[in-house]
């Protein structure tokens, strides 16, 4: 069962990445273009016989390294998503995972001028889960919100990603203010093959629910039918984390 779920999760992940390919290509293109500018600009000055000085050269080299690293990081993230990994639980910080996830959808956010606000907890929240699968769920929710703004023009476009710690659980909320979901459609949302999108297969939310439930949590949705949609995920915190007093940042 675990294995089948992991396989299905992997398959839908590949599909999502396929849809996001052009945006991700841009994310990699950007640091490459930057690296080329630095290297060519430097070569040009050296060819002209200019003495650049060690300090200046060092600055440029550092800039080049930073950019190459930026491209490498994106590829590393991509590979972890593409890799067919068995279900793997480990301990990780939820907030830093959220920030990684934003990297995947940054391009789409910029393109549509959507402002994404991450509201973290006061304390560091660590959960025990399969990080790739949790990432997948969050990417799915964020992309649903982004798509909602594609269909519904709003002068102000905001998505809020909120982390709340409550006793033995952590709550992750993703809220957009695009168009809401009609009350009669809410029960169908998590059904497989139910979709409101032309290009969609209707697997995103159904696999998200499977993943969250496999982690002992639950996912729900709330909406007033026209001005907002909130997806809420509840995940149990690992027992050992409960003993500790929350660390204030």
């Amino acid at each position: 069962m675990r294995e089948r779920q992991a396989e299905l999760a992997h398959a839908t992940r590949l599909m999502t990445l396929g849809e996001m390919a052009s945006g991700l290509a841009h994310e990699i293109n950007q640091p490459l273009a930057t690296t080329l500018n630095y290297a060519r600009g430097t070569l040009r000055q050296l060819d002209q016989g200019q003495n650049l000085g060690v300090e200046k050269l060092r600055r440029v080299m550092n800039a080049i390294i930073k950019q190459a690293q930026r491209a490498a990081d994106i590829i590393k993230r991509l590979r972890s998503m593409v890799k067919k990994a068995p279900y793997q639980r480990c301990r990780f910080q939820l907030e830093s995972l959220c920030r990684d996830v934003v990297g995947f959808v940054q391009r789409e956010l910029t393109e549509l001028t959507i402002e994404l606000e991450i509201k973290g907890c006061r304390s560091v929240v660590e959960i025990e889960a399969d990080p790739i699968q949790i990432e997948q769920v969050l990417i799915n929710l964020l992309r649903n919100s982004i798509d909602a703004y594609r269909e519904q023009q709003r002068p102000q476009k905001r998505i809020i990603l909120e982390l709340i710690r409550e006793a033995a659980t952590v709550i992750i909320r993703v809220t957009d203010f695009a168009k809401g979901v009609a009350a009669e459609k809410i029960p169908c949302l998590f059904e497989p093959y139910y979709t409101s999108k032309q290009a969609g297969l209707g697997l995103g939310l159904s696999i998200s629910r499977t993943i969250i439930e496999a982690h002992g949590g639950q996912i729900t949705v709330a909406s007033d039918g026209n001005s907002y949609t909130t997806f809420e995920i509840q995940l149990p915190l690992p027992e050992s984390a409960l003993d500790k007093e929350p660390l204030v940042e």
Binding site: N29, Q30, A33, Y38, G41, R44, K66, T110
Partner: protein, 205 residues
């Protein structure tokens, strides 16, 4: 080379922007950088040069900035930088009268050549715009009657016809006419006609 002209860079990605500045400066161009369309509009005061503009930015988009420049009647030439495959955006930028667009990552020779050519053209456009401004200032010193006379003179009317049309004496027409010539700082009729045609054309040269 182009020591009076500036290459303005507007891009919200600080790393890319600075690398572009580095590349352009390595080829001897003088650059000024801005992280948004809004920041550029706050600081730009009509200096000659050209604008390297990222089309996709958070906040004011490149396309919106282009339209704003047009609205303010600034002659700054715009080269648009697009990501790979941004065809629709590139088309829109060209419709907004961009000089050209260039896809990231680009060949440095191509970019530097394009910038050099654009600055060369821009110099002419700015000179022309400045001349138009000077002529406009002189024109504004004419009295209402002098403007009427000038308009008729430019249309080729003889002093006699002008006198008749405005119901004034030929002698008075002659006085107005010579005032027009001296206030507009032109030596002959041909120069006056040229000034009038520059004045009446609004758009870029």
């Amino acid at each position: 080379m182009n020591n009076r002209q500036t290459v303005f860079i507007v891009d919200d990605d600080i790393d890319f922007r600075e690398s572009l500045g580095w590349l352009l400066e390595s080829a001897g161009f003088f650059c000024r950088q801005f992280d948004s369309g809004e920041a550029f509009l706050r600081r730009y005061a009509g200096e000659p040069g050209c604008l390297l503009l990222d089309i996709r930015m958070s906040g004011m988009s490149g396309l919106a900035l282009q339209q704003e420049l047009k609205k303010r009647d600034w002659a700054l030439e715009v080269i648009v930088i697009t990501g790979h495959g941004d065809v629709a955006m590139a088309v829109q930028a060209m419709k907004n009268e961009a000089v050209d667009f260039i896809e990231k990552p680009f060949d440095d020779e191509t970019l530097l050549k394009l910038v050099a050519e654009t600055l060369q053209r821009s110099e002419k456009v700015f000179a022309w715009q400045q001349e138009q401004r000077h002529i406009r200032q002189r024109w504004d010193t004419l009295s209402k009657r002098e403007k009427q006379v000038a308009e008729l003179v430019v249309k080729g009317a003889a002093n006699r016809d002008i006198a008749e049309q405005l119901s004034i004496s030929i002698k008075t027409v002659e006085i107005h006419r010579s005032r027009v010539m001296s206030k507009m700082q032109v030596k002959n009729l041909a120069k006056l006609i040229e000034a009038a045609s520059i004045l009446s054309s609004h758009s870029r040269g």
